[in-house]
């Protein structure tokens, strides 16, 4: 896994092309997700399995608008628990999964500072598909829940060269209660490779 990431990073950097005016910004991010609230009641383990793709177009020097798409997998093996409902009790090992598919429209405000480092604030509005699965014994229960979601973000864009760079973003994903799933939230930490042209 680590090796694959390093190889991937090297290929990205060596192949990076050149372009003229900077009008758009594209990033590939490795995503770490820390479950919060209802999500952490279900799975309280931080996920290191995720990625985020972002694309934005600058509409002036400070503002860029675009979209975000990605994926994160939460997982936990829950054992030695008895699930009691009324007079009935059930026990066994549960394998819990929550696959997240965020899809957002985004707007970022990039603060103009020096050349190389630009802090930014962002907001995304869209949806997250939460695909929940519980495996217990030989049985599986799986359901997908689409929830309306928003996510504010603060981050830093670092561009040592004209059209490639790196970014670090911290996002708070918050999606709202749907018919059969309470609102979900998590803290996303994105480390990305950025391409601009």
């Amino acid at each position: 896994m680590k090796k694959q990431l390093i190889v991937f990073a090297i290929i990205c950097m060596t192949l990076a092309g050149t372009a003229q005016a900077q009008q758009s910004i594209f990033s590939l991010n490795y995503a770490i997700s820390v479950p919060l609230g209802n999500t952490s009641n279900y799975i309280d383990q931080t996920s290191g399995r995720g990625f985020i793709l972002e694309y934005q177009k600058f509409i002036n020097k400070n503002w860029a608008i675009g979209g975000e798409f990605g994926h994160a997998t939460f997982y936990k093996r829950e054992e030695n628990k008895v699930y009691t409902e009324g007079s009935a009790s059930l026990s066994g090992i549960q394998y819990r999964y929550q696959y997240e598919w965020p899809i957002f429209l985004t707007a970022n405000y990039y603060v103009l500072t020096g050349d190389k480092i630009r802090p930014y604030f962002g907001l995304g509005v869209g949806t997250i598909a939460h695909d929940r699965r519980i495996d217990m014994g030989i049985f599986t229960d799986q359901n997908t829940h689409w929830q309306f979601a928003i996510r504010p973000e603060v981050g830093l864009l670092y561009k040592p060269t004209y059209n490639t760079g790196f970014k670090l973003g911290v996002k708070y994903y918050n999606s709202f209660e749907s018919s059969d799933l309470a609102g979900q939230s998590n803290l996303g930490i994105n480390v990305g490779i950025v391409f601009m042209n």
């Binding site: 896994m1 694959q4 990431l5 991937f8 290929i11 990205c12 192949l15 092309g17 372009a19 594209f26 590939l28 399995r49 995720g50 990625f51 793709l53 994926h71 997998t73 997982y75 008895v82 009691t84 009324g86 007079s87 009935a88 009790s89 059930l90 026990s91 066994g92 090992i93 394998y95 999964y97 495996d135 217990m136 014994g137 030989i138 049985f139 391409f195 042209n197």
Partner: protein, 214 residues
Amino acid sequence: MKTIYRLFVLGLFTWTIISCVPNGAEYVDELDIVYTNHDQTYDFQSKGTFALPDKVIKIDFENAPDDPDWEPEFVDPVYANAILETTRTNMRNLGYTEVDKSANPDLIILASALQTDQIFYYYDWWYWQWWYPGWGPGWGWWYPGYYPPQVGRIRTGSVFLQMTDPNNQSPTDKIPVVWSGVINGLFEGSDNSINQRITTTINQAFDQSPYLAK
């Protein structure tokens, strides 16, 4: 060129992420589950004795025939003993005394087991249209007088424990089952390991029913 490069990076990236999907169960005992349920109004504390048959019934999906001489099939004593012994030990540890069924026990515990080792197997005849001579729309196959598409694949086993109260028979002759436990898992492995899992799971059934304690 740039597009190709980006697609390449994207593909590599996706592959990197997908290559670390989390795992599920790896061992048979990780698939064992234990379910218990009971009559919440029943006063277990006031009961003192129980009786237990020396055999475990094997349920085979058929209705029991209406014949006073009929006897069901029984579970292999290798497994039955583990089921009965573990149940007996748990009841004794809870403070109940075992008596013969003729000595008017407060509770009678019945153990049964069910093994399913068949799955229904069927595939559409159209899969063969590319090869079978003369095959065309409207054709199909049938099994004259026998039924092959059942193959042994996943052997799952269930053990049922029913705790009944013989002194509380209702006017309609229904015997109340005041507690029941169901254990389900894969019926795979050596006798030893299966018995070990039977013991663990029956213990768990009693552990998760603290109201049985006297």
